[in-house]
Subunit: 216 residues, 2 copies
């Protein structure tokens, strides 16, 4: 059965930004004790043996907490680590191919940076969409043009799947992004590069909850 | 059932070196009409959607010729394209993990650059070993130290699996490499960067056959 998932605070874990394998595990531990609801492992520069070792340890850490582990791009690593899902971009394996490989019980996320991408997400195949970059970001080398919050809100009027917003979102931006109509915010450096990953997670969680109260 | 395979002349197809998707298909076509016995697709800089598109076309080209298509590193692409096998290095997914993902009917190759690597290749899991680099090469950025032909011959005394030698092997080197006791030679630039891929394949095939006659 497909796991329940809550996109509220979605950590894209960059193990290099965290300081390596052990530091990434520590960050994931602190983050998920303090509000992070999903962890995606993304290490585009890593060889797969190192990816797999970290994915297996993350899975063991997160499963008892009910926090899904998503693997970026590499379906083979997701399968080998029995991760909870895969996240792909528009140039990665097509979602329908990924779905065939992972079966019906795993989560599948797709990145979208335009209305065309958003409309192209097959709701029978994809479980959620990551929309961005909302703000400028230095994390992703091949990022698309920045959307901005107004454009994000426009896109949200068209959404047919849960959406997590990504790209340059920190504590100061989380509330306005939530107000634009997304289901959650994805962060990389706001937690991975934070001096205190626990405190950053708490503050992000509070910002998201506050924005939802205002909207309700 | 696992396909028969003949390592004699093993083309590692670098689509960028060939000149892109269409040029890589052309190279594979000419090469396999002129003696190449295995094709491995290796495009470490490519996104997976482009990999998959090329892998599917290569499979359609090569299958009727009985030439196995091997995918470097990415088990997910091999599964999606129904390729004939996967080739992994020492830092890629461990062979036993790959074998679980691909099942018993696909080929699995492992790179080795030392006696320890060679002895570490589980003959119940791995089908062949790629040993190198024999000579200096500019193709692989993270290549191990050069073995040389004498060291290669030493290693061959220890082999328990079919071996294809790789690294800086061109028409001038093929014969001495075969004489060192390997089952075949793998080339990248000797065909991908050749002015005439067909002629290069014919000459390599002749060099290999000639060296075998001498040895016999």
């Amino acid at each position: 059965m497909k796991p329940d998932f809550d996109l509220s605070l979605y950590l894209v874990l960059d193990p290099d930004m965290c300081g390596g394998h052990a530091a990434a595990l520590r960050t994931a531990d602190l983050a998920t004790r303090n509000g992070v609801t999903v962890v995606q492992l993304r290490a585009p520069e890593w060889k797969k043996r190192a990816w797999l070792a970290l994915a297996i340890e993350l899975k063991a850490l997160l499963a008892p907490r009910g926090v899904p582990l998503i693997i970026n791009d590499h379906v083979d690593i997701a399968l080998a680590a029995d991760a909870d899902g895969v996240h792909v971009g528009q140039k990665d394996l097509p979602p329908e191919v990924v779905r065939q490989l992972i079966g019906p019980d795993k989560l599948l996320g797709l990145s979208a940076s335009s209305l065309a991408d958003l409309r192209g997400a097959d709701t029978a195949v994809v479980d959620y969409v990551g929309v961005g970059p909302v703000f400028p970001t230095g994390t992703k080398k091949d990022a698309n043009p920045v959307l901005g919050v107004a454009k994000l809100a426009e896109l949200m009027a068209e959404k047919s799947l849960p959406v997590v917003a990504i790209g340059g979102i920190g504590i100061a931006q989380a509330a306005e992004v939530i107000a634009a109509g997304v289901d959650g915010v994805a962060v990389v450096s706001a937690i991975c590069a934070a001096a205190d990953a626990a405190a950053a997670s708490v503050q992000l969680t509070a910002a998201i909850a506050g924005a939802r109260e205002v909207a309700a």
